[in-house]
Symmetry: C2
DNA sequence: TAGATTGTTAATCGATTAACAATC
DNA sequence: TAGATTGTTAATCGATTAACAATC
């Protein structure tokens, strides 16, 4: 089993979870690393190495029990651990994230929505009222959210993240073009940089032809 | 200079581009790999190695000219190359992507929006009408889009991507939970898997404390 | 038992970092 | 010229793959 898990392994975990979920839904009971590797486009070796970072979930001569492994990975990812979150920035992206994502099945519960723009304040999205960004301090002191989802521009992200860290928020799902972790070392940050993703597509179109 | 560039380098390119853009906006003329490395949280060595995959853009004793390097990376990423794109799936996420993203400054032009849902067809988003998914064939034959942006569920993604590939689409920006490249080897795919990103955040919250 | 497939160690491959001669 | 900093080669580190003994 393991001490510290490499980024490479962590990055692959959710994908294992997805494929195992699919197999489970298809009623598949067991699967070998070989068979899974074909489906996922990996090597069997890598799958066994990855899983063995966390424990011996398989059985020689048999393979892995799909349902059991699916559950183990869910636990490893902490999807069963309840986490409270707030979302800042209810523009197009913030609204879409609020409405589109399945937060529940990953243990996240959105408890507050915020925006600075008066025209948005008061609107109701997914049963939650959009609150005034000015009330952020008070809300956080009362409700102690653990996670903040940032759907705001770079400039606001810098200030507001600082404010939120002072209010005890320790994890960020960051859609803004601002590198939180550079100025805040011990905060947990997961970035979604859509622009960077689109630029990589541009690069590949130019070069892979 | 270089033959084939590693994924690791490609992944970092857009971030260089962003930081150089910021420096340019701040009126900074030149920067050394050392200084840039501090700002970006990398090593100077890595920056020089990365850039030298594409050419010698610096000057000994001086460093790099910000404006020039910014332009070079733009060219490397192909941001100046015009690319036509269509977007399939005008739910919350599709709408947000359409309205929120700056496609222009990366060379992308959205020429068509599609959805299968009658209530969405006919709506106008960012000056474009949402078209009926049934008209996809005809539209593609007439307008030959190069890229498709998939904001649809997994099941539809499988069918529709196949259809689009047959219609000559060769690159995908994929927001769906479907692994396009597994079944379509020579197609260019850039994935945005928001669920996987959120699960990684969950993992870190459980483990980095 | 025999066959299959894991868990794990060893070998390979690639990416990052360090070092330094070249040169502006 | 002297100082600074690149471009590039060599050393290190880490991740992936291969191999195989353990075992179900």
């Amino acid at each position: 089993m393991a001490g510290v898990i490499s980024e490479s392994v962590i990055k692959r975990l959710p994908r294992y979870y997805r494929f195992l979920g699919d197999l489970k839904a298809q009623g598949v009971d067991r699967i070998s690393s070989k068979e899974l590797s074909t489906r996922m486009g990996l090597t069997a070796s890598q799958i066994r190495q990855d899983l063995n970072c966390f424990g011996g979930f398989g059985q020689q001569g048999y393979g892995y029990n799909v349902q059991l492994l699916h559950g183990e990975i869910s636990a490893i990812l902490g999807l069963d651990v309840p986490k409270t979150a707030i979302l800042i920035g209810m523009g197009n992206l913030g609204k879409a994230v609020t409405m589109h994502m399945n937060f529940d099945n990953k243990g996240f519960r959105i408890i507050g929505l915020f925006d600075a723009k008066p025209s948005l304040v008061g609107q109701v999205v997914r049963n939650l009222p959009v609150r005034n960004a000015e009330d952020l301090d008070e809300f956080c002191r009362e409700n102690r959210p653990e996670v903040a989802i940032l759907c705001i521009p770079k400039e606001s992200a810098k200030e507001i993240s600082k404010q939120l860290i002072n209010l005890g928020v320790k994890a960020f799902w960051n859609f803004s073009h601002y590198d939180l972790m550079l100025e805040n070392q011990d905060v947990i940050v997961e970035n979604v940089h859509l622009s960077e993703s689109l630029m990589r597509l541009s690069y590949r179109m130019k070069n892979e032809d």
